[in-house]
């Protein structure tokens, strides 16, 4: 049963990612991205990362995807047919992407990765919280500053000049 669910999630992720980059209607791409992000959240759950899966749902699906849909709606005349778009140089791009995939697969299958057994933790939130406020405190503060900067920057950029 778990096996079936696992392969279902993997298939859904990969197929909808294909739709994201290949479909010529932007809004369908965005909807396919929703399924990809859901699938990635499912993969996180299979990898015992419950907190990251929750953050993925909240930030990616609740935040970034909504932003992207807003962007599509604001930059296209919805009533006209210009919502579609075409891809350019698909041959060269496809060849490059396949070559890249073959290269990565070769590296992945040839490298003897470090592995170590572990028991499934009950939850990961406590460990992540402790690490964030001890070892990674400086990075944590830096990234909160970066978020503030990005927020102000986005507001300044999208404001009408007068």
């Amino acid at each position: 049963m778990t096996e079936i669910a696992f392969w279902f999630v993997i298939t859904m992720t990969v197929l909808s990612a294909g739709v994201v980059v290949l479909h010529n209607q932007l809004i369908y791409s965005a909807m396919a991205l929703l399924f990809t992000l859901f699938g990635v959240a499912g993969i996180y759950i299979f990898l015992w990362a419950d907190f990251i899966a929750g953050v993925q749902l909240l930030v990616y699906i609740g935040g970034i995807l909504v932003l992207i849909v807003f962007g599509i709606m604001l930059t296209n005349r919805i009533s006209s047919v210009r919502l579609s778009q075409s891809n350019v140089q698909q041959g060269v791009g496809g060849a490059m992407a396949i070559w890249l995939f073959i290269l990565i697969s070769f590296v992945v299958s040839k490298t003897p990765w470090y592995k170590s057994d572990a028991l499934e933790p009950i939850e990961t939130v406590a460990g992540i919280g402790t690490l964030l406020l001890t070892k990674y405190l400086l990075s944590f503060e830096a990234i909160s500053l970066l978020l503030l900067g990005a927020l102000i920057g986005a507001a300044v950029l999208s404001r009408k000049e007068n």
Binding site: A49, L67, F70, S86, V108, L131
Partner: protein, 101 residues
């Protein structure tokens, strides 16, 4: 299902698709979606290595930071895309060749 390589292959497929999208899409927002795919692929790798390397939570911290960076990047990029749309009346990245009018 309990193999590290399965996850790495899935991440490699997502990464290649993302690179394909970034290289071939003309629409700025579609390029952004390709970037999101690439970031997700990197995140799967971080979490997979964390899980199979003895449940080391530092991979999760990196994945969190990547998600936060993706949020900041999406906000700024969409502001830029909307500015490009106001200036050029289209968001095709090959037509936006000037920094200002």
């Amino acid at each position: 299902m309990y193999e590290l390589n399965t996850y790495l292959f899935v991440a490699a497929i997502l990464f290649s698709l993302g690179v394909f999208g970034v290289m071939t899409r003309r629409n700025g927002i579609a390029v952004l979606m390709g970037v999101e795919l690439i970031l997700n692929a990197a995140n799967i790798n971080f979490v997979a290595f964390s899980r199979f390397g003895g449940m080391n939570l530092e991979g999760h911290i990196f994945a969190l930071f990547v998600i936060v960076l993706a949020a900041a990047e999406a906000a700024v990029a969409l502001a830029i895309v909307i500015n490009i749309y106001n200036n050029f009346n289209s968001i095709n990245v090959d037509e936006a060749s000037a920094l200002k009018e």
